[in-house]
């Protein structure tokens, strides 16, 4: 069998790969584990070569996009060869008239957004830190952002992909047209698979026209319950805002919008001026029915600031921070807030919720490992009683040790394990991180 040293020598000599020097490796430490080496393929062929060499030597592989959420997920089980996809950042095909785009996995979302914006279009995929986050990373981590409320999440936008399996097989699924039912839809599997099934190298998306006018309405409520009631009313109405986020007390404090100690419901409206005006009026009515203390409409820079905070919430994650992703049915979100924020003798978290999706992000910015583990256990128990589940989006390695971060259980976890088994029998891709790899 090939040794690690043989594999690295082969990689160093490969024309489609750059093997980074030891000096750069410090930037790729995950869960406290330094990589064996870092390669930056220049092409899909380079990715395939790197994965093949690693497989031949039995070396685990960690795909790397922008590194914004690579610390999420189960604790990495062993040092890996990091495959940094940053150089796969080409736009491969963009036809505005077809409302589709195909690009390399390493393309940053901010760059993509700028490109399509120039054509009056929009890719409503908004993971945290779009200046750094890549297409591939966003898909693998399954982070979709505030506008999923109107446009759906990553799985609804992805129409085709190319990915490299653990044995180096290059796999295409879907295509470049918005409607396509040929073959099993492997795209769906890659989304949210956290780098455990395949290295995504290329993706095609359907695009949306950018709304001509957008505006952010901020409604201040005295309690989470009142804010949640308003959110449910808006979500169930024919109004179709772009986003519907809830921000807990003090969460928006860094923005210029006072007061700080309230629950803000943040709604982005989009459309023609007449539509936006109508929405503004409707929201004012909802606000007064549900007991809002204040309503503000913000635009331009100010709106961008608030939107950015809501989108980036929890990121970049400080080493000692704990970020939980609590999901329930949307109707139970207020109870999930209580279950998460009202823990005895635990510090209060900052909270942001995608209210339409029933997803609550709770962040403790600096928490002792023992306290963090207590919080996780308690929140999981309380949320399970609501029929929801709790994923650990970020935690210090010591906290995650031996813990399952996915937080899911049910008969289908066994099938997920089988899926992992058929695509990566040797467990080489993002080792330790697949669903069901740790006891829950």
């Amino acid at each position: 069998m090939m040794t690690t040293a043989d594999a690295l020598a082969a990689l160093a000599a490969h024309p489609e790969l750059d093997l980074l020097s030891q000096a750069h490796v410090a930037g790729y430490i995950v869960d406290g584990i330094a990589p064996i080496a870092v390669v930056r393929p220049r092409s899909e062929a380079g990715v395939i070569a790197a994965v093949r060499q690693a497989a031949a030597a039995g070396v685990p592989v960690l795909p790397w996009g922008g590194g914004t959420s690579v610390n999420g997920g189960n604790r990495l089980a062993s040092p890996c060869l990091v495959i940094d996809l940053a150089a796969l950042d080409q736009v491969i095909e963009y036809q505005p008239r077809d409302r589709t785009i195909t690009a390399g996995a390493g393309l940053r979302l901010a760059a993509l957004a700028k490109l399509v914006e120039a054509e009056g279009q929009l890719l409503p995929l908004e993971p945290p830190l779009p200046e750094r986050a890549t297409i591939g990373g966003a898909l693998a981590s399954g982070l979709s952002g505030p506008r999923r409320h109107r446009y759906g999440s990553a799985r609804d936008l992805l129409i085709g992909s190319t990915a490299v399996l653990a044995d180096g097989t290059c796999v295409h699924s879907g295509g470049r047209v918005a409607k396509n039912v040929a073959g099993y839809d492997l795209n769906k599997l890659w989304v949210g698979s956290a780098g455990t099934l395949a290295v995504i190298t290329q993706a095609s998306f359907r695009l949306w026209p950018a709304p001509p006018v957008t505006e952010l309405a901020l409604l201040a409520f005295p309690t989470a319950k009142a804010a949640h009631r308003a959110a449910m009313e808006i979500a169930g109405s024919p109004l179709q805002p772009l986003s519907l986020d809830l921000a807990g007390p003090a969460t928006l404090a860094a923005t210029a919008v006072p007061p700080a100690d309230v629950w803000w419901l943040c709604i982005e409206n989009g459309g023609t001026p007449a539509m936006v005006e109508r929405l503004r009026g409707e929201l004012r009515a909802v606000a007064s029915r549900c007991g809002a203390e204040r309503t503000v409409a913000v635009r331009g820079q100010e709106a961008a600031g608030v939107r950015g905070m809501l989108r980036d919430f929890g990121y970049p994650a400080a080493p000692d921070a704990l970020l939980l992703r609590v999901v329930t049915l949307p109707s139970r979100l207020a109870e999930a807030v209580l279950a998460t924020a009202a823990l005895q003798d635990a510090p209060l978290p900052a909270l942001v919720a995608r209210a339409g999706a029933g997803m609550l992000l709770a962040r403790w910015s600096d928490i002792e490992p023992a306290a963090a583990r207590r919080v996780i256990v308690r929140v999981r128990a309380a949320v399970a009683a609501l029929g929801g589940s709790v994923a650990i989006a970020h935690a210090a390695a010591a906290v995650k040790d031996g813990l399952d971060t996915w937080g899911i259980n049910g008969g289908d976890v066994a099938i997920m394990q089988q899926v992992k088994q058929v695509y990566d029998p040797a467990g080489l891709l993002s080792p330790g991180r697949a669903p069901g790899e740790h006891e829950h």
């Binding site: 036809q95 409302r99 759906g152 295509g175 409607k179 039912v181 539509m275 109707s331």
Partner: protein, 482 residues
């Protein structure tokens, strides 16, 4: 095809009841067809009423080593529900209940045999609807929609079946009953729901479906634009999309279609037009109001000689009637038709449509095009009389050429009807062997083996029989529309 044993039939009766099992040759003939021109005769037909029945039937099939083919209403257009290899055919139509309706979260749980339109009817009084609206929605089942990842006219803005299914209950090939997905809770993990949607009954049997319901739009307006050339009409499609408008639906009907439907249905399409577009705008009242001037201008700029619109439900229904009942009307032109399903990037529509006409001309076949233009999803409908010697071969040859044309234009061989048996051998036009082997690994992950709807959706392996064809009959009622 091997004769099924008397024991197997007895056991099926014990599971699902005497009245649920059919095995006399004259009964089986009813199940030999779906919406295609292909055939396949099952050895036995059994109608389960519960998930437990399904589980027991699936186990029995495996134990006896016979194929198991789940079936919905049999409206499929790729042969997916045909028992081409014999075995147990399992129509799900008796499992058709609405099990849960959560109005607060706008979620419903239904059994797979529920007819698509029935679900929207059941929730209409709550101002809700189920978005995927295949044109066969008066007959086809939600289970069949899940298996094919069905689309429909309104999928342009709202998305296809996969975008509206939140979770499934499955029976695996070993009889195990499993739930996938969060059923309204976006809980993460591998998206098994997403891969089972569109898997054509080859991975598992779907026994429950959790779907998202949408709030009915506040206002709807339907536009009819009349064109003197196909090119103008296809350009208008591109122009509408280019103008940053996402209509609820954007459908095109060509001259042959207009001439078939107008005399019978009086939908108001001029008989001398080369093409008409149906454009539906829905949403906030303001959006719809503003669209009148905006859409009208775009459609006219591309050469429409007339643009009309209606928001009155009866008038809208009239405008849609020619679209909805086109396939019934084709019966007046020719006794048989063969519906194709291909996708191209919308910008390539002009040249691809021209190619479709050229291919059919060359094969001396009549073709009518009535299709989901907004997302480039073509449905050329080849009209013929199967009594003409050799015509079926020409129809199939033209069909293959048209599929190839779509692929060469950067598209796909199916937008919504699935691969089934019809297109399994074209899969290699868009996927490599590696791609397909990677996909097929999922069969192992689900433990599906080859007994679960065998020889479907992928190129055939040794052991799959020849496709049986014809006699092609126009079995679709006048209400059917694609």
């Amino acid at each position: 095809m091997t004769q099924l044993s008397a024991t197997l039939i007895r056991e099926l009766r014990a599971i699902a009841g005497d009245s649920a099992v059919y095995h006399r040759p004259e009964d089986l003939l009813l199940f030999e067809y779906d919406g295609t021109i292909d055939r396949g005769l099952p050895g036995v037909v059994v109608y389960p009423s519960t998930t437990e029945h399904v589980s027991a039937i699936v186990r029995l099939a495996r134990q006896h080593g016979v194929p198991l083919i789940p079936r919905g209403a049999g409206t499929g257009l790729s042969g997916g529900a045909l028992a081409t290899e014999g075995g147990i055919l399992m129509p799900m139509m008796r499992m058709n209940r609405l099990l849960e309706l959560d109005l607060e979260n706008r979620i419903a749980v239904v059994e797979p045999g529920m007819v698509n339109l029935e679900l929207s009817r059941l929730v209409a009084r709550h101002d809700l609807f189920y978005a995927p609206d295949p044109s066969s929605q008066k007959a086809c089942t939600i289970g069949g929609n899940v298996a094919e990842n069905a689309g429909g006219p309104h999928c342009l803005a709202l998305g296809v079946t996969a975008n509206h299914v939140l979770g499934l209950e499955l029976v695996l090939a070993d009889g195990a009953i499993v739930r996938t997905g969060g059923w309204g809770i976006d809980r993460g993990g591998y998206d098994l729901t997403g891969v089972v949607v569109g898997s054509e009954g080859t991975l598992a049997v779907v026994t429950k479906v959790c779907v998202r319901l949408l709030r009915r739009p506040e206002a709807v307006r339907t536009f009819l634009a009349v064109y003197d050339s196909i090119e103008q009409a296809t350009e208008a499609v591109a122009a509408v999309i280019g103008a940053g408008i996402v209509p609820g639906a954007l459908e095109m009907l060509d001259r042959n279609t207009i001439r078939a439907v107008e005399p019978i249905l009086k939908c108001g399409y001029p008989l001398d037009a080369e093409a008409v577009l149906l454009v539906e705008i829905d949403g906030l009242a303001e959006a719809v109001r503003e669209s009148v001037a905006r859409i009208g201008a775009v459609l006219r700029e591309c050469g429409a000689r007339d643009v009309r619109s209606a928001d009155d439900p009866r008038e809208r229904e009239r405008l849609w009637s020619g679209r909805k009942q086109a396939f019934g009307a084709f019966g007046a032109l020719q006794p048989n038709y063969y519906i194709l399903d291909g996708v191209v990037p919308p910008g390539r529509l002009p040249e691809v449509l021209a190619g479709v006409y050229a291919i059919c001309d060359r094969h001396q076949l009549q073709v009518a095009n009535v299709f989901h233009a907004g997302d480039g999803n073509l449905h050329p409908c080849v009209l013929f009389d199967e009594r003409t010697p050799g015509v079926t071969e020409r129809v199939l040859a033209a069909g293959a050429e048209i599929m190839r044309l779509c692929v060469d234009a950067g598209g796909s061989i199916s937008g919504e009807h699935g691969i089934g048996i019809e297109k399994r051998d074209y899969m290699s036009w868009i996927f490599t062997d590696d791609d397909m082997h990677a996909m097929l690994r999922l069969k192992d992950a689900f433990g599906a083996g080859n007994g679960m709807n065998p020889c479907k959706a992928f190129p055939t392996h040794a052991g799959c029989g020849e496709i049986q064809r014809g006699p092609a009959t126009a079995k679709l009622g006048g209400e059917a529309w694609v």
